[in-house]
């Protein structure tokens, strides 16, 4: 099986050719947006971070930026800094260049440029040139074994665990069997299902790390002295029929399929192994998607029961509806209907095949609904307090 993708000079495969504008600090958001709005064909992200952060948060924030810049769906990067922040734009730009020396990277510092308009002008000229170069590249056949899939579920209902998640799991298994990589994450939504994932680990060490990662999250939640319920499952999950975090988790874990768990990695850490990988992320859709994109995933398949519009700026996000009623209602946002399983019209395997086929189409250039809508959702998981 092959898709039509972009081959990067270091051998990496990409499925998009984005020119990405990243502000390294909240204060640079408006300039980043200004640059992207001036240059058709570029995308931008914005966030609340990059300054007044303790070292672990600052490092994680920088890692997310570098991960987005080095993601192989990105052709070139414009990094925008203010000039006095904790996360230094120059260092982020330099690290992207160190990891991907072939990639065009331009750094703009607002205080050095002489203000917002001058920074927007300088960044726009650089982005303009990158878009021109990027648009001349041609796609070529690449084996699906090079694809990294991020799996995600959000706005879950009781059908998520019956239909969309097992179908995504079937697609994930097909990709892993073809030599590809699949990421399962959302640590709070593995509470109560950790034995299922850990039981498939390739070694005792990976199994222990899986259990310890999930326990640490539950211990943190318990330390707040509250019932998780209301935060997770969310009010919408509960309205949809989910009653406890265990029930939600048991439905969630299906989306990782049934193949061996080869590695457990931290938030936004680089994906380096093939097969099923567990990344430690929050359950929050945007923070999870951002972490997986920073880890290098090419494409995300997002199952939902209540209906969620989410999409990354650089990682095409395919939305799979768990029930036909919502699929029919939210046509603006849903790419695939897995509700046919609950309706008795298709099997989990059949929908899994359909998801894989759509994954290959999107990897080859078909736009997802979230891309057509221009989604650029981006959120960085925070560790400690803001100073």
């Amino acid at each position: 099986m092959e898709f039509m993708g972009y081959r990067r000079p270091d051998g990496a495969a990409g499925i998009r050719n984005h020119v990405l504008v990243i502000p390294t600090v909240v204060c640079a958001n408006q300039v980043a947006r200004g640059i992207s709005q001036a240059v058709k064909g570029s995308v931008w992200v914005e966030h609340q971070h990059g300054c007044s952060q303790l070292a672990p948060d600052a490092a994680q924030t920088a890692r997310v930026f570098v991960g987005h810049g080095t993601n192989s769906n990105v052709y070139g990067v414009v990094v925008v800094g203010l000039g006095c922040e904790v996360v230094r734009a120059q260092e982020v730009a330099a690290e992207i260049t160190r990891q991907c020396p072939y990639k065009p990277v331009h750094c703009v510092i607002i205080q050095d440029a002489g203000g917002s308009y001058k920074a927007i002008a300088a960044g726009s000229i650089a982005a303009h040139r990158m878009v021109e170069q990027a648009s001349s590249l041609a796609r070529e056949p690449i084996a699906v074994s090079e694809l990294i899939l991020g799996t995600e579920c959000g706005g879950s209902d009781a059908c998520s665990g019956l239909a969309a998640n097992p179908a995504l799991g079937a697609a994930s298994d097909l990709l892993v069997d073809a030599g590809g990589t699949s990421i399962i994450s959302e640590t709070p939504e593995l509470i109560g299902a950790e034995h299922i994932l850990a039981g498939r680990a390739v070694s005792q060490e990976v199994s222990d790390r899986c259990i310890a990662t999930i326990k640490a999250f539950e211990d943190n939640a318990n330390a707040m002295g509250v019932d998780m319920r209301g935060g997770n499952p969310t009010p919408g999950n509960i309205a949809g029929g989910l009653s406890s975090i265990e029930e939600k988790s048991l439905g969630c874990v299906y989306k990782g399929g049934t193949r061996p768990l080869v590695d457990v990695i931290g938030y936004a850490r680089k994906i380096t192994k093939k097969g099923l990988i567990y990344m430690d992320t929050p359950g929050n859709d945007i923070e999870q998607l951002t972490g997986m994109a920073a880890g290098g995933c090419h494409i995300c398949i997002f199952t939902t029961g209540r209906g969620t519009p989410t999409g990354s700026a650089i990682v095409p996000t395919i939305k799979v509806a768990s029930n036909t009623a919502m699929y029919t209602k939210l046509t603006d946002n849903m790419d695939i209907n897995a509700g046919t399983i609950v309706d008795g019209e298709e099997t989990i395997q059949q929908v899994g095949q359909r998801i894989l086929a759509e994954m290959i189409r999107v990897a080859s250039g078909k736009l997802t609904k979230a891309e057509i809508l221009g989604h650029n959702d981006f959120g960085i998981q925070r560790i400690g307090p803001t100073l």
């Binding site: 209902d157 009781a158 059908c159 665990g161 019956l162 709070p188 509470i191 109560g192 299902a193 299922i196 539950e218 939640a221 318990n222 330390a223 707040m224 002295g225 509250v226 019932d227 998780m228 319920r229 997770n232 509960i238 949809g240 029929g241 009653s243 406890s244 975090i245 265990e246 029930e247 048991l250 439905g251 029961g305 029930n323 009623a325 609950v342 309706d343 008795g344 019209e345 099997t347």
Partner: protein, 98 residues
């Protein structure tokens, strides 16, 4: 395959998930490992919500996907709606620690 009124994932489950809204005083059949089991629904069960298919005593585990999803906080009769009003999760319960 025909459309089920409610879906049971594993034979050990004591609840089924409604695949359509179920109305009070209706009789449904659920497939448990290929065997049809009759359940008399006594309460309205919204789409996606759970209905007990066996008697579950207060304090007993509630099983779905063949796994524990919580404990019954009151006695639950077959056909009753099983949700947050009579099911308490066992995990992520900081409120039990303080």
């Amino acid at each position: 395959m025909s459309k089920s009124q409610a879906i049971v994932m594993k034979a050990s489950d004591n609840v089924a998930t409604a695949a359509q809204e179920l109305l009070p005083a209706t009789d449904i059949e659920v497939q448990v490992n290929g065997v049809a089991v009759a359940v008399h629904v006594t309460e309205k069960i919204p789409f996606g919500h759970k209905v007990a298919i066996r008697k579950i005593a207060a304090g007993d585990k509630i099983i779905k996907y063949g796994e524990v999803i919580g404990e019954a906080t009151t006695d639950i009769q077959p056909g009753q709606h099983t949700h947050v009003h009579n099911l308490g999760g066992c995990r992520g319960r900081g409120d039990w620690e303080v």
